[in-house]
């Protein structure tokens, strides 16, 4: 069993997101270690991109900070490789990247390099299901999961995507871009139910989740939550000293997620 499947086995998964290289590579390393320590079930590292069209203002700003600080894809691959040796080896590392940096790296070279660095999965928001054939074969060759996304607008596409995907499904909770939302709609519940009707791939819900209450409510029906902007906001506020603040928040979220799994949640 690969690390991603294991992360969802018998428990609900808490998946924090941080933007790689924000505010610098050394802090990203500290954050990764702190998140592992806080019980993250997988960690998503955003590769900074000049034009992150699916991101809200918080992550967009983080991306710009990281690029200004000189972060590159190569530096993050090297970081992942070295951290893989230091952290709990069960924690999957996922890269979230726009497709252009991958395209310029070369799909085959990138998948191979990710495998060598111990990166378990890729989330490529601007490479929808219909275009994934450019990247899927090299990912399969090198044992890197290409994670599919589904959104409230996916409707009749959900079944096709769910059946043909591996690792887990990234369920986009609501329309629009990443960012915290006060009220989460019912879309994620419906999407998860639609997936369940066709297969048992784990469903992790992202976009808009920031409080332990929201995480617990989502985990009542989903297999995990992805939390990005709320963490990136803490990093924006505390900069190089943000690891302890992020760790404290992550522990609360992890507890809410674990609790909801244990209670079966009502």
């Amino acid at each position: 069993m690969n690390r991603i499947s294991a992360a969802f086995r018998g428990k609900k998964a808490f998946i924090p997101f941080i933007t790689g290289g924000d505010p610098d590579i050394d802090t990203t390393r500290e954050l990764l270690l702190a998140l592992c320590d806080a019980g993250a079930d997988a960690i998503e590292i955003g590769i900074p991109f000049s034009d992150p069209i699916a991101e809200g203002p918080v992550i967009e700003a983080a991306s710009a900070r990281a690029l200004r600080a000189g972060c590159t894809l190569n530096k993050l691959l090297a970081l992942a490789e070295s951290v893989r040796a230091d952290v709990n080896p069960d924690v999957p590392i996922l890269f979230m990247t726009y497709y252009n940096p991958v395209f310029h790296f070369g799909a085959e070279a990138f998948a191979s390099r990710c495998a060598r660095a111990g990166v378990d999965g890729l989330i490529v928001p601007d490479l929808p299901f219909e275009e994934r054939d450019e990247l899927l074969p090299p990912c399969q060759t090198h044992g890197v999961e290409l994670i599919s996304l589904i959104a409230p607008t996916s409707r009749e596409r959900i079944e096709r995507i769910a059946r043909a995907s591996g690792g887990f499904l990234y369920c986009v909770s609501s329309l629009g871009v990443t960012g915290e939302r006060a009220v989460l709609g019912e879309s994620a519940r419906h999407m998860t139910a639609a997936v369940r009707r066709v297969c048992d791939i784990p469903c992790a819900v992202g976009f808009g989740i920031s409080t332990p209450e929201q995480a617990a409510a989502i985990c009542a029906f989903a297999d995990g939550v992805i939390v990005g902007s709320a963490i990136v906001r803490i990093i924006a506020e505390h900069g190089r000293g943000s690891a302890e603040h992020v760790a404290r928040y992550a522990r609360e979220m992890k507890q809410a997620v674990t609790q909801s799994g244990r209670d079966g949640f009502a």
Partner: protein, 394 residues
Amino acid sequence: MAQGRFGIYGGQYVPETLMRAVTLLSGEYDKWRKDETFAGEYARLLEQYAGRPSLLYYAEKMTNDLGGAKIYLKREDLNHTGSHKINNVLGQALLAKKMGKTRLIAETGAGQHGVAAATAAALMGMECVVFMGKEDMERQALNVYRMKLLGAEVRCVTSGTATLKDAVNATMREWASRVDDTHYCLGSCMGPHPFPTIVRDFQSVIGAEIKRQVFAAEGGLPRAVIACVGGGSNAIGSFHEFIGDPDVELIGCEAAGRGVDTGEHAATITKGSVGVFHGMKSYFCVDGHGQISPVYSISAGLDYPGIGPEHAYLFAGGRARYVPVTDAQAVDAFEYLSVTEGIIPAIESAHAVAYAMTYAPALPRGDVLVVTLSGRGDKDVAAMAKYRGVALDE
């Protein structure tokens, strides 16, 4: 593989949230493009509202002065709203209406597409929101006010370089958050399928008229058709009718800014490489890590780091060629056309005029060059004065 390819270029590289929107749009467009009522309504709007056909004007003084090929100007600047953008927005607004949408959103660089979109929205009784980079809002303050006058809301985009590409990002984000009642009226032959095809089709009236008009005037085909290229909508509109005529040269003029070797340009084909951005596979200006490079041009309308996928295809296959034209050359051409023919062109269009000025003298006198004047230059007068160091008081 998704639909909508020109060779390897094009495609639908958009977030999952938008896949339904582009798929539905594609299906609706396929339906309406074959509908005779739709075609009739669109033709009537072009004729009675936009003022088509636009003139094909023989620039006799310019021709005699340059001493080579005969130069004809395709006068898109004479269209209602002052540019070729109206051709596309009337088609898309009509399509949006047929699809039951009540709201148009659009990106704009120079403001010409924004003004055109706001105009079409006013005409058809639709809500309109235009996204515009902060930098462009400052460069084109008059167009900002014009859009507001037409009833549109203009949203200032401050992220990234605060220019056209960032306005596109913002409009895509808005569309992702509100697709049910909203149509993204994209202004150029770029973005995910079906936009490059839709915009090409609505703009191809330019080339169809050129062919008819040149034939009437000269009894044959032109030697070359020349147009400026940012995303490339007036160029693809001018070229499309001639793609199957191998003897007609197709020449796109990209913005070389301060020079293609200065790092301050928007010369996508000359200096860029193949990549994936804004929903399409095409040529883009990127750094060594696949990050989109900041680009620069004196012309807000050409200040874009990519080019439409059909242009990438025409370039890769050798059917069209793309030449860089600097700010300085464009400003000279702006002034030259004003004083020689009494026509003040948009600074975007002046890039095409500038290349024609260098190319015409090298050709025999019997040859015919058609230069598409994509827009009029009133909006650029203040910036040109500033470029020449002249202070204008309001």
